[in-house]
Structure formats: C-alpha cells, structure tokens
Symmetry: C2
DNA sequence: CATCTTATGCTCACGGAGAGTATAAATGGC
DNA sequence: GCCATTTATACTCTCCGTGAGCATAAGATG
C-alpha cells in the first residue's frame, strides 16, 4: 500500500497487537430472543482471529460453526474496540476486539460444546416492555437515577442529567424508544448501577437487576441489540431467525420479542403482505388453539427485486 | 479478560498484527462535498494506531489535528478490514485497518501539511444526480453493464445480473437510491469497470470515469459516503459541516451536495423549522443576489431535548 | 350448542409528505 | 424610476401511510 514516507516509517516501528473476535449470536425461540454465551452465561463467545481466513466474516463463520456445529445466517460487523484499559491488565498485549452480530435459525448447540443459549432479557430486564414498562423501573431504577441526577454539582447539570434519564428510559410520560439500548446501559453505568462499573469501590449493593458479564461484553451485547432493533425496521432480517415455515403470528411474536414491545396485529399483517415479503405455502399450522393459521415462507425473491425492503414495525401504545 | 482455557492458550499463540487507522474526513464548501486526501489525491489519510491514546476515537482526533491543524467535529467508526490480500503483498505483516468517518467545519488545511481537500464526486462522478442522472451513465456505463450481464453463463444469471444493475443504478425508470453508493461501486468492480479491479489482466481501456485511489481506499470512501447519506436523514449531522451562521438555502445546498440530489425547497424549510433544529440569529445575509435571507444557527439544545432528531430529507423527482 | 381463541377482512380518521401557486424583498441594467 | 431577475416566504391541496377500532370466520373444547 502506497503511503507517504513518514507514515511508512511509523508503521514499521512495530506497534503489534492481537486481534480478537467477539460475537453476538442471536436466535429466537418461542418468543424469547437468545444469545450464545460461554463461561456459564458470563461471556460472549470470543477468540483470536486466525489469519488463515480470507476475511473477518469468513473467520467468524468458520469459528462459529466449529463452536456450535451450525452454520451462521446473516452476519454484520458491530464495532471495533481498541481501548487500552479494556483487558483490565495494563501489562497484557494490546488487543483489538472486533465484534460481530450474527443471526441464526437454529437454537440447538451441538453436544460437547461449551456454548449455550441464554435469554437476552436476563441481561437487560429493563429492555422488555412487551407487558408495559417493567414495574421495577419506576420502583427501583427511576429513584436511583433521580438520586444520581441530584448528585450533580450544579442545578443546570442536575436538570440535564434528569432530562437525559427521562429521555432514555421514557420516564414522565415520554415515549419509550426501544432503540436506545446502549444509551440506557451507559446511563446506568454512569450512575453506578451496573456491577461491571465498580470503579474499585466496594459498593455493589444497589444496582439494577440483570446478569452481569465479563469485561465489556454486556456493553457489546447492548450494541448488538440496539443494532438489531434498528435493523428489523427497514431490512427483512427477521426471517433469518424464523424456521422455513411460520404463521404470521409467530413472525409477529418474533418481531415483538426483538423489539421488546407489542405491535398492532392487523397493521402488522397488512404491512407484511403489502410488501410481498412472504408467500403462502398452502399448508396450515397444526397443534394450535383457535382457528388454524396459514403457513407462510419468506419470499427470497424480494432480496433481489428490491434494494431496500422494509419491514416497517407498526408500534402500538397499549 | 476471562476466557475458557482453550481460548486463552490459542490467544497466546501470537497472531500479532498492526493496527491502522483510515479516515474519511468530510467538509462541504460552496455546495461541494470534499474529503481530505494525501498522496496527491490518491489516498485517504491513514496511519498506524498509537496505543498511547485511551481509545481509537481519541487517537483519530489527535492524529487529524496533528495532520491538519484543525479539530474534528463529529466522529463515527465505519468498518474494520482485516482481509489478508488487502495489503497487496502477501509477505507483509497482517494489518487490521479501522476506518472512521469524520465531519468538520473547516475547509482549510494548515500550511506545510501534505493533506489537502478533493471533491468527492471526482472519485464518484456517477453519484452526483443533482442535475439529473449524469449523461455518461446511460451513454457509457449502462451499455457496459449490460454487456457484463450478458456475459453471465446462464440466462437466469444474466437476468439476475441485469436486474441488479437496474436496481443499483436506477436504470429503466427505476428510482435512483442515493444510499447505494457501496453497492454501485462493488457492481462496477465486479464488471471490471474500476481501474483498481485489474485482476492482473492488462485491459484498462474501458472503465468508468472517476479518479482511482490506492488499494481499497475508494471502497472505504464509498462506505463513508453511503453512511453519511443515510445518517443525514435521521440525525442532525449536517450542522457539523456548516459554519456557525447560515441561511436556509445554504443548509439546503449542503444537504443536496451530500445526498447528490435535489430537495423541494418549501418542504425542506417546513421540515427544518417544524423540527426546531435552528433559530434565527436576527442578522441577515449580506452579499447576496435577490431578497436577503435570514441567518440561522443550529439549536444545540435539540441534542439534549430529543433522543433522535430527524433531518428528514424531502426528496424531489425533478 | 355456547364459549374461547385465533385468523382475517374492512373502515375510518389523522397527519405527514410531495408538489404547486402566489407574493414579498432585494439587486442590477436600462 | 422601471423592469427583469433572483431569492425568500407564505399558503393550499391532495394523496397515502399509519394507527386504531369493529366485525366476522373458523377452528377447539366443554
């Protein structure tokens, strides 16, 4: 690669690092979004990048397949971290961590593998608003955030902090925005309500609910959830998480599971069908309560026909 | 970082790489979007990542400031490449390239610096549809794409190729989607119409217009343009590129310059004002032809008041 | 058969977006 | 001073996407 002289010399000065991959692998089963975890659910799957592969994506696919015994569907890069203090140990070699979001249909991990699936709301209980805002937000989190806001040095800063709280968490009758997953996590972190945020002070007593994770893995997961929640609105990626055949209600439940909120059933169906995203298989769903539903499959044609196919989410306020 | 045993050992096996930063730095002057380049316009600014900085963003900011003598406004990570063949030389040390998009108000590069500004449409002439689709698309590019499509082995593949062409370039009365910058570049690459795509064959005769760049820099630039074109529609990032005070027409021209297409003036103003993104300064523009326009400034308050402020672009079809 | 549950069809009202028309306020040329 | 030109700004109109509610159909279960 052609570089200007001073840069070439600088590059040769040997700032070697190691490259890691961290994966947020998502599946949805029975209306529960799950992520692949290792270490008893305390960490996202991660490992060193092997340069024997042609590209990062290839490396990730091969690696996931080796770990789970299943191929990976949709893959997308999330973010690259190179923060110095990230590894915790200042003496350790510098590490660049490249995180990916991966979607898969299979919920099954092959036997003998360390990995297994965990519900993503175990780590982010405050992100599930399908039955309305969780009660503990108003009861526990909001007061603590208010206390944190009041602890700001000046009245102006106090107001700004509290405004930020109401916006990100949808407090005081504001709309809850399901995409602000990372912002909410960061806010709780700053307010010292996240166990990972122990700034080497001993107090772990009053924290938000939810399982913690190693290092910054929960933060990476938040990034992945946010990305996916944004993506399902304008790209037909939900289908990567569905079985080959599904009913419209199952599809809706998956979308709701990811978004963390409910959608209007009739409007949802109208949108899906008018966009010609699915086609009937002819078969009907068995083993159901109530009127049997038609089975549909994803029309793969849309990927070629359209540049941007939108799965617009009709969000309801109930 | 806690890892499972087999991973820890794998990590210690020493797959060291070097970390590079590549920056797409954007400014807009007089309705022309510009990017910072080095090597006489043949490369994007890039250099090794110094681990003396706390994070990648800090490193990039410091580095850009050292290169141009000006601070950087909005910064966003674009993509990380680790492809093996990327450096061209298989023997060279593996390199991870982390690319960033940066927006700045200043169009001025300090004296004595190698960097300077180039219009981004010099590299992507087919991306400027402000005066309608450029004539050479129908005259030159479309026929070559058609020939490429016809060269596919089967009739089905031929149809699929041509459909892809019509979608990405908006041929045959399809709508042109300004966000598909990367897809268009990749299509031209596959059709061997990009000089960089010389698969060590000698033919460079019939290629698309536009200045080439070193290595995959033009591809990175395409990624940056696409990201920015998408972003201006739902985040008020245009203001990062504007001077402190501006008229609504200047703002509109900047948006149009970035989007590569025109917007409806009255609707544009309606959207900007109803979203309360700007406030009057009280002053009027001087040195103008026609009726003098009010000067506005960006209301920084919106960043705090709203979670997602949208600069929705009213796109016109003329 | 009554009831429950889910599927599916239909309608209505509101608001946002695209687009057109009209008027106001400045400049420069004659 | 008058006119053409250029830009700013106000107003209106229509279409359609979207949120929301109502109604009916089709199965299971007691």
């Amino acid at each position: 690669m052609a570089r200007s002289p001073q840069k070439t010399s600088a590059q040769a000065s040997g700032n070697a690092v190691t490259a890691d991959l961290v994966a947020v692998l998502v599946a949805v089963t029975d209306g529960t979004p799950k992520i692949m975890t290792i270490a008893g659910g305390a960490a996202l799957p991660s490992g060193p990048f092997e340069f024997t592969h042609r590209s990062l994506q290839t490396a990730l696919r091969a690696w996931v397949e080796a770990q789970t015994g299943h191929p990976l569907g949709y893959v997308e890069q999330l973010y690259t971290f190179a923060d110095r203090g990230r590894s915790g140990d200042a003496k350790s070699p510098h590490s660049v961590s490249i995180s990916y979001l991966g979607l898969t249909r299979e919920d099954r991990v092959g036997e003998g593998f360390e990995a297994h699936w965990s519900g993503w709301y175990d780590y982010f209980p405050w992100e599930d608003h399908r039955d309305g805002a969780p009660a503990f937000i108003a009861k526990t989190i909001a007061p603590k955030l208010k206390a944190w806001a009041k602890a700001a040095p000046s009245p102006t800063l106090q107001r700004e902090r509290w405004q930020r709280c109401t916006i990100t968490f949808g407090l005081e009758d504001r709309d809850w925005n399901e995409e602000l997953v990372l912002q909410r996590y960061e806010l709780l972190w700053e307010a010292s309500l996240i166990p990972e945020a122990n700034h080497s002070r001993g107090r772990e007593a009053s924290v938000a609910p939810g399982k913690p994770m190693t290092a910054d893995h929960r933060r990476i997961l938040a990034t992945g959830i946010a990305r996916l929640r944004a993506k399902i609105k304008y790209r037909p990626v939900v289908f990567e998480l569905m079985p080959a055949e599904f009913t419209l209600l199952q599809l809706q439940r998956s979308v709701e599971a990811l978004a963390g909120r409910l959608v209007h059933k009739q409007n949802f169906r109208r949108l899906i069908e008018q966009q010609e995203l699915v086609e009937e298989t002819g078969a009907m769903a068995a083993d159901t309560v109530g009127r049997p539903a038609k089975l549909f499959r994803f029309r793969h044609g849309v990927l070629a026909e359209r540049a941007v196919a939108g799965t617009k989410l009709p969000l309801s306020r109930t």
